[in-house]
Structure formats: C-alpha cells, structure tokens
C-alpha cells in the first residue's frame, strides 16, 4: 500500500511532500518521544505523533520513515514544514486522534 492510498482513505491533509506519495508503507509507528522513535521505528514506517517541533523531520530522515502523520489536527511549526520540504519528508495531518489513525492504517495495510 502506498502513501497516496492512505492519504485518500483517511482523508489526510498534505502539509508538504505531495510529490513523494508513491512510496510504499511497510508499517506504522506511534510515539511522541524522539529517543523511542529513533531506537525502535523501522525504515518505511509512517510515524504517527503529536509532536510538531522541527526535530521530528531529522528523526524521520535519519530513520528513512515514509511520512510523518500529525494527529488531532496539529499544525506543524513553520520551520518544521520548511525543513520537511527541504528533506523530502511528507507531513500529513489527520483530524483523528492517534489511536484512531493507527487503527485505520493497521487495518489498511494488514488486509
């Protein structure tokens, strides 16, 4: 399943990286502690979080994550968007809370 299909199914807002939505999603990781995500997320995961700070882009880039999904309608800080655009990391915004976003993506990629 590629990012574009997830964006469509969950009706996500594309904050940036709209040109990189053909990437395959291998799984998901939910977490708000950067050290945890650095240690445990896997390449190709979508990362579901409430953090909006620009450090999330560095983590996503380091771990080669497919995208960052911000939950509960959280808007990324302006420098976060700027950095993500530069690094080619898609930032997607969901109105649902993290549990719901994870649940829906889990269902999509496990079927």
């Amino acid at each position: 399943m590629d990012l574009a299909a997830i964006v469509k199914a969950l009706n996500l807002k594309v904050g940036c990286g709209g040109n990189a939505l053909n990437r395959e999603v291998k799984g998901g990781y939910v977490g708000d502690l950067l050290s945890d995500v650095i240690a445990n997320s896997q390449e190709g995961h979508v990362w579901i979080t409430r953090q909006i700070h620009q450090n999330i882009v560095a983590v996503a880039s380091l771990k080669d994550l497919a995208a960052i999904i911000l939950v509960q309608g959280s808007e990324p800080a302006p420098d976060t968007l700027e950095k993500a655009t530069r690094e080619g990391i898609p930032i997607l915004i969901a109105t649902d809370p993290g549990f719901e976003v994870a649940g829906k993506i889990y269902k999509l990629i496990s079927t």
């Binding site: 708000d32 502690l33 409430r50 953090q51 909006i52 700070h53 800080a77």
Partner: protein, 155 residues
C-alpha cells in the same frame, strides 16, 4: 460552602509531583462539586504542579473552592519566564530531558491550563518566580463544537 487550603510543592521532586493535585481532586470530589468542575480543576492544578516541580526551587498551590467556582493559584520561586507570549505558544518548551522523559515538557502545559480554566492569569518576573491564577466556574456548561470556549447550554 467555602474551602481554603494551601499546599507546598518541592521543586525538582519528580517522585512527589502530582501528590497535591490528587489530594485537591479528592477534596473537590468530597465537597460534592460536579464531575466536570472537578476534572477541569484537577487538570489545571496538575499542569501547574508539574511546572513548579520542573522549573522552580519551591512553590505553593492555594486552593479556594465555594459554590460558584474553584480557584487554583500556583506561585513559585524560580527562574521565571522571560517571554510569556512565547511560553504560551503550544509546542514551545525549555524543558530538560528529565521532564520530557516523564511525558511533559512538550510545550502544552500552559495552553492546557488556559484551555481548561474559565479564567486564566499569569505573571512572571525573571529570577524571582511565576504566578498563575486559574478559575473554574462551577457550572455544567456544554462545549460548542466550533469553539473551544465554554458557552451556555441554550446556544
């Protein structure tokens, strides 16, 4: 009905952080206040207690409850906040790694206090300390879906 009590909070004692808020929640429940009032007062109290523990040497939480409202005052002796407007911005934080590991320090504390208190006042002096006063009205109001503020049920 009228109830007053002052609690002291020790800066840096993360083990005890939240003790005062749990106690205050218990007191408010026992006073028979509506569940929503108790919930909102407990949330703002807990965030302010976490702030004292995280950023100050020591502080006090003063509780005043009566039939109309619950007032929580949090005052501390600490480093103070140089730019309150910036500190109020969601996501802005000066928290240490220790605070972040506890699940706090994501720059949401002050906005949570403002969100859940009907009245919110903050003042701070660098090198002296910070004072926060929060009032939760003792009314059962419904949240308007388009606005975060509390509005009357008839709207």
């Amino acid at each position: 009905m009228s109830y007053d009590k002052t609690f002291s909070v020790e800066g840096g004692n993360f083990q005890a952080a939240g003790n005062v808020s749990s106690e205050i929640k218990g007191i408010l429940k026992e006073l028979g206040l509506p569940r929503d009032t108790v919930r909102r007062a407990a949330i703002v109290c807990y965030e302010s207690e976490i702030n004292i523990v995280s950023y100050a040497k020591k502080g006090q939480i003063v509780l005043h409850a009566d039939d109309q409202s619950v007032e929580i005052e949090a005052k501390d002796e600490g480093s103070g906040i140089p730019d309150i407007e910036l500190a109020m911005k969601e996501g802005y934080s000066t928290a240490t790694a220790q605070v972040r590991e506890m699940g706090f320090g994501a720059g949401m504390g002050l906005s949570n206090m403002k969100r859940y208190a009907d009245d919110f006042f903050i003042s701070s002096e660098v090198g002296v300390g910070t004072y926060v006063k929060m009032v939760v009205f003792n009314l059962d109001l419904k949240l308007h879906p388009d606005h975060p503020q509390w509005v009357d049920t008839y709207t």
